[in-house]
């Protein structure tokens, strides 16, 4: 099989040192008509500068509304192999860890029932299997679920939560991101597989302010590890950094955003009361500086991409909470947020947009959080504000 199409445009993208997606499609096209027709259609797109896909419809596995995204070529006569080319989202293990054995099993099944193409991984975090037919969906689901792999989320639903590598490999993870991610994924299975929300809801868990999973930019509920007490300093290791050529004054002290550090050529000091826990000094001097021991997370809410009225970054709502397994306090907080959103949002309205419409006050009241200065960059500037009866008591 394969080689049905001449692809002079795409062939150009097999040149050069970076790994080529065209080569990947061609590999699969040797085995499946789907991948071969996919190659032909993409070549056509490169000539005409437009895509040829339709999506949506009733397509999925029985009982679920999430995990499968219907996709159809708009040129089924020209490219019959991709008349159906549905996406299947498999929920990734927390932290994207695999064994070769497990991955090969997933690939063996996919080769039997799909195009042979994948995304490792999709933008939200799922292991994405690209391209299968409607009739193969139930078979795929039975094969995967019987081996312990379930589908991820799609549509107006809880989306597959994801997290950074966390305490599995990173000394900066203040919280057990992988355990939290796994726990909330299990907790929200029903909402993940059966779209009953106003719109999508994403949860991402990052172990520290570095935010390697883009939680503040890309999750409705962003969980960021932090600490409360003093930074621990090993002065002997500080000296080694200095001896190794680091300009501690310029690279650490002067780049500290709160100017809370000083260095006299021997001792590095931190005025912890002024520290905002931004991670700069710790990230640059990981052997010498350690976070405090009172660890937990900051909870932020509301980020999303530009559609409809501009992109949002998440806002701080709970400055600090301790997070220990089984994370009931987090689940309780998330439940309250989702309930308020579900009760009040219009279709296709994200929680950040709803907070903009309704105001932060009703949201904070719904999650039973008091107003605190950590929630704002600065207070209101104009003298228009609401008073409610409860403010007069």
């Amino acid at each position: 099989m394969g080689g049905k199409y001449k692809t002079p445009m795409l062939d150009e993208l097999e040149k050069g040192p970076w790994p080529s997606f065209v080569t990947e499609i061609k590999k699969a096209a040797k085995r499946t008509e789907m991948a071969d027709d996919e190659l032909g259609q993409v070549e056509k797109s490169y000539v005409t500068k437009r895509g040829y896909w339709k999506h949506g419809g009733i397509v999925g596995v029985l009982g679920y509304g999430g995990g499968v995204i219907g996709r159809y070529s708009s040129l089924p006569n020209e490219f019959p192999g991709i008349a159906h080319f549905h996406t299947v989202r498999l929920n990734q293990p927390s932290g994207f860890f695999y064994t070769a054995e497990a991955l090969k099993m997933i690939m063996d099944i996919w080769d039997k029932y799909g195009s042979g193409l994948t995304n490792m991984h999709g933008s939200t975090g799922d292991l994405v299997l690209l391209g299968t037919t409607t009739e193969n969906l139930e078979v795929l689901f039975a094969e995967y679920s019987s081996r312990g792999w379930d589908l991820g989320g799609s549509g107006s639903a809880m989306r597959t939560p994801s997290c950074c590598v966390g305490q599995a490999r990173c000394e900066w993870a203040c919280i057990d991101t992988m355990a939290i991610c796994n726990e909330v994924t299990q907790y929200y299975q029903d909402q993940l597989h059966r779209p009953s929300f106003p719109y999508k809801f994403k949860i991402k868990v990052a172990g520290c302010a570095c935010d390697c999973v883009a939680a503040i930019a890309r999750a409705d509920l962003s969980i960021i590890g932090t600490w409360k007490d003093n930074i621990r300093i090993d002065q002997a290791e500080v000296k080694k950094y200095a001896d190794g050529g680091m300009n501690i004054q310029a690279e650490i002290v002067e780049m500290c955003p709160t100017a809370c550090m000083s260095y006299d050529g021997k001792t590095l000091k931190v005025n912890d009361a002024q520290c905002s826990r931004c991670m700069h000094c710790i990230a640059k001097m990981t052997k010498a500086l350690k976070q405090g021991k009172v660890k937990g997370a900051s909870i932020l809410v509301g980020s999303k991409a530009p559609i409809v009225v501009g992109s949002l970054l998440s806002w701080v709502v709970v400055p600090f909470m301790e997070l220990e397994a089984p994370f009931d306090n987090l689940k309780d907080l998330a439940d309250k947020m989702i309930e308020w959103w579900d009760d009040n949002a219009k279709p296709r309205e994200r929680i950040g947009e709803l907070i903009e419409v309704k105001g932060m006050r009703p949201f904070l009241e719904a999650i039973e959080m008091p107003p605190v200065p950590q929630q704002v960059k600065y207070p209101r500037k104009d003298p228009f504000f609401f008073w409610s009866e409860s403010d007069f008591n």
Binding site: H55, G60, G70, A157, R194, P195, S196, D342, R348
Partner: protein, 81 residues
């Protein structure tokens, strides 16, 4: 109300709205709660039982999810009508 009665109401409502408005799970539950007087959980359970057998199904279009009645051929083939 008996579950089967609730389910008949759900199906009738969905048939009535077909092609007029995309119904979300919540829209259906709200409407049937009013009609039957049952609580949210009872209606949701009845609806979910229909979804589990494929009498009605989740669908996606226009940027959001809804619940729809599948094609008549499908329902006949599966013995659901």
């Amino acid at each position: 109300m008996e579950q089967t009665e609730i389910q008949e109401k759900i199906f009738a409502y969905m048939q009535q709205m077909k092609g007029k408005k995309k119904l979300k799970e919540k829209d259906i539950i709200k409407k049937i709660m009013e009609e039957s007087g049952d609580d949210k959980d009872t209606v949701k359970k009845a609806l979910r039982a229909m979804i589990d057998v494929g009498k009605v199904m989740y669908s996606y279009g226009g940027g959001s999810s809804s619940v729809e009645i599948p094609s008549e051929e499908y329902l006949k083939e599966k013995g659901l009508i």
